[in-house]
Subunit: 265 residues, 2 copies
């Protein structure tokens, strides 16, 4: 992945630009090689059940870091950062309804809020590209295809719902390699959840996604499905919490972790 034009490379410097609102765009391609994260902020009384939901469903909900109530710094993955200002765009939901899309959530902040940073697919997509596996949604300049499956997540408290998956067409000659390289990244969704019979997971037509964009298949390509970070947000939203704040789609939090820091083996 090439570096976004005109931006510094190190996440600390990029976050500084974001905090000053000198950069408010999507973060795809920004600080290549560093781990980016989805954000979900919830009131403290829901935090145990949500953390437990993530623990029970590590493929769609891999926790990168949790910031306790009363704190605003992701001290393990981005020392010095401020979770209220250092994402380029946020969404604020009240009882499951979108209330605002803003570049700073300081006005919504209270010491009652717990912030969850959840792994995203960029890390394993870099590994796929490095392994010579092309990504159709990059080639098309579109979003990845996503499907709501018939796979139930393991519930926790009020949190329950189906697993959402992303789909990438992979040539049959590259499927084994795709499993191998993504298996190294269990903290960013990891190995595929399905190969071979889309109907079995509730996907009738891999060319007709439920979310995101349709992707063209080439000869010899099969649909390969990975757990998707949309899952925890969708599940949390279903519970209609009094307040929930997330990143705006594509506007992720950029940590100081390198992709290799979250790889196994």
């Amino acid at each position: 992945m090439t570096q976004a034009v005109g931006l510094p490379t190190h996440p600390r410097d990029v976050r500084e630009l974001i905090r000053r609102r000198d950069f408010t765009g999507i973060t795809a391609g920004v600080s290549p090689g560093y781990v980016q994260a989805n954000l979900a902020i919830l009131p403290k009384d829901l935090a145990f059940d949500f953390l437990l939901f993530c623990q029970r469903n590590p493929k769609p909900c891999p926790i990168i870091e949790v910031i306790e109530a009363g704190k605003i710094e992701p001290s393990q993955t981005a020392p010095g950062a401020d979770i209220r200002t250092d994402l380029p765009k946020y969404r604020v939901y009240r009882y499951g309804e979108l209330e605002a899309e803003i570049e700073d959530i300081s006005d919504y902040w209270s010491d009652d809020l717990v912030s969850f940073l959840i792994g995203c697919s960029y890390s394993f997509e870099n590994a796929m590209l490095d392994a010579g596996i092309p990504l159709r949604h990059h080639e098309q300049g579109s979003n990845v295809s996503m499907f709501i499956t018939n796979i139930d997540c393991v519930p926790a408290g009020m949190f329950a719902g189906p697993m959402v998956v992303s789909m990438r067409p992979v040539h049959h000659s590259k499927i084994v390699k795709a499993v191998q390289v993504t298996s190294r990244f269990p903290n960013t969704h990891g190995a595929p959840v399905h190969i071979g019979e889309p109907h079995a997971i509730g996907v009738d037509d891999p060319t007709q996604p439920h979310l995101g964009d349709a992707l063209a298949f080439k000869d010899g390509e099969l649909p390969v499905f990975w757990a998707c970070g949309v899952t925890p947000q969708a599940v949390a939203m279903e519970s209609k919490p009094p307040l929930m704040i997330t990143h705006s789609p594509g506007h992720m939090f950029i940590t100081d972790l390198r992709d290799e820091d979250v790889a196994v083996l």
Copy 2:
């Protein structure tokens, strides 16, 4: 590892014996190939911080399953089991002081308690034996050596403290293999935390353990250190919770998971 004499193989059948108090011994060698777990039971108001502590310190505190307040069944890893009766021996602590060692905790149970099952080293020890790496504490018929290191766990809420590690002497010709095979088991402590310079982690003399038994070294063997499941219990105990229930040392909970179920790659 050979099967304990006279016991059935499947964990479900062993738990049935334990529940009837027909088996109250240590579980080493029982149901070989199945995952065993450490137990820590805490009041609900400490559960979020303890779960977060485990999430932040996955090497010493790998969560196998959490049973919410009000429930007694580890439904994901041992359907039908009862956490109050299906371990051969428990310890009950009040404000950090041992109050009782008993075979059934039903009298102490309340709907306010959350149960944590935490991975133990048996799974990766089986993998080491399969890989031809001898285990000195098995040969000696003793406990493994344990040390309280100078490595601070990442704190969460009231939970903080040093990492406890176990030590196994490994011949230099087998050290690479020992790293490889244990790396496959991140949910049961995984790869070593240290090789090569014990002083660097606060271990002055590898033959003088802080806990457990001393192990003899043979020519060409080095001390290799793994994160130890004693860590979360020691840390929780330090916080002197009003009630904490654990397994009695060596008397683990036997799940229905096979070792391979918790392996990566």
